[in-house]
């Protein structure tokens, strides 16, 4: 089989740290081009823009998007119009309207599309899904707490309108929870704590449920000091499942379980490969929809100004 010839748009930290190593480790893909306005990527053709890449005549089957979500919509549409398969980093777009439109346009073009919620591919997630499949769920508690100064130093965009604030990490937790639970989740209420000098929340408490009235609560905190807490605990009639370290660790009733040894982005690209092979798509809007609904119905409280 010929490898899938892949172009990458955006060559920042996530592309360099995660995408390029995962692509190069997977023989099903061949990285042939990068579009970036920053430093070039060694060993491939570099272009200043996706437009230049598409017009170059270089044969490319698929495009992966690692640019910021603002402005990504038009780029993905450009790739779709050229008939390319698309992988889109999280969150897929700046608004739900853009993301919903991409879902329709992928279907119209008949290509494979993938909104890559990478946290769903953390080592413990598949084993957690397997265990939960036959259990009776009682409640879900999500705690996603970290120090923004450590993990996003100087990233002022996070606090601006359309920046997600604490939902930037929180959407990862929501992408896992929606992947673990059998029914769609809904926001019932949310409290957003917004620093007086910011537009986006630094902390949030969210009450959610599903069609069976499952009690789902999330605590997001971006000002948590140096001991990160990225956990999801699901109480079932038969026992309690707990994911820690963002899904890397899994325990059942306190006993550590064996998990996958595959890295998140290795699994992301393996899934993209399968989507292309079967001409299917995986374009789940649910994590973004939960964030938008939290902003929509959430109450806001002003808290101390934030200084990086």
């Amino acid at each position: 089989m010929q490898p899938i010839r892949l172009g990458l748009v955006g060559y920042g930290k996530i592309a360099q740290d995660q995408h390029v190593p995962a692509i190069r480790a997977n023989p099903a893909f061949q990285l042939v081009a990068v579009a970036t306005q920053g430093q070039p990527c060694a060993g491939v053709e570099n272009f200043k823009s996706l437009g230049e890449l598409l017009e170059s005549g270089l044969h490319v089957d698929a495009i992966a998007f690692c640019t910021p979500p603002q402005g990504r919509f038009a780029l993905v549409q450009q790739a779709l119009a050229a008939g390319k398969h698309v992988l889109v980093e999280k969150p897929p777009c700046a608004t739900l309207g853009e993301a919903m439109t991409l879902v329709d346009q992928v279907a119209e073009q008949g290509v494979s599309g993938f909104f890559a919620w990478h946290s769903r591919y953390a080592p413990g997630i598949e084993a957690a899904r397997d265990w939960l499949a036959t259990r009776t769920l009682q409640s879900v508690q999500i705690d996603w707490k970290e120090d923004v100064r450590k993990w996003h130093p100087g990233q002022a965009w996070i606090w601006q309108p359309g920046g997600l604030g604490v939902f930037d990490p929180g959407i990862n937790a929501l992408s896992i929870a929606t992947h673990l639970l059998p029914l769609p989740m809904f926001v019932e209420s949310a409290e957003l704590r917004v620093p007086g000098n910011c537009q986006s929340p630094i902390a949030a408490s969210i009450k959610m449920s599903d069609a069976r009235h499952l009690d789902i609560r999330a605590e997001f905190d971006f000002d948590h000091g140096h001991d990160e807490l990225w956990s999801i605990e699901i109480r079932c009639v038969e026992g309690t499942l707990r994911l820690d370290n963002g899904g890397a660790l899994l325990s059942i009733d306190g006993a550590r379980q064996t998990v996958s040894e595959e890295g998140e982005y290795a699994a992301v690209y393996r899934h993209f490969q399968q989507l292309i092979a079967t001409r299917t798509s995986d374009l789940d809007l649910q994590p973004l929809r939960l964030v938008a609904d939290s902003f929509f119905v959430g109450s806001r409280a002003s808290v101390e100004p934030f200084y990086d």
Copy 2:
């Protein structure tokens, strides 16, 4: 043909003023039951809840929902599970997640569903659509300004989390604009002005566009004194179309045009009748999606406290 046997859930102001007269004036419908916890509706069977109505054994083909959007989701699901056609007042649900789920569930049940954006049936709208169909659009200016004290006296829920504030009338304008324009609309940015003692905006400026980069702007104001302004002006290469009075009046280049003489709710129920006859649905999420995205990406400025 047998008339469609209709039940009404919620018998507040909008049901009494608009729904019941429109239903009774349309021989295709027969109003057979009302579910309400308030004063009963004369001439039909009254029930305390939708559950009682459905369990009563009374034959009902379709249910119209006029309760507040909070809590409506579960009620509509109850009617769908019983195989009834559903008409849902605007806005259809409290969150986009709920509304998106209803779209799926209507399709699964194979009944007819209708999110009744009533402003789309204002007298000037069809003529406006006809005129616009062959024109080249240049820009859209929406001005939706009214006095909340006059139109929503004492309605504290408007200002609470999940209350729409000025988007409660504004969503009517968005429902018209999305009906007039040929392509989906997207929120690019929004400024929400929120009274210091409220959770929802009293005024908003929204910048939108579509896939052809049409310049679409909306000004919503809920503190506008007594001269209401509910207008949409669409500049085209061939001339300027203007809707006034919420779509009741239509002019082209300043010349008043002939419009429909049918009332909004008469047209709403005529459309519902057609949907049921053809076993089709009309469940447009776009107006609610634009509101949710405005809250999601909008910047907020605190303004003077609001007192009713």
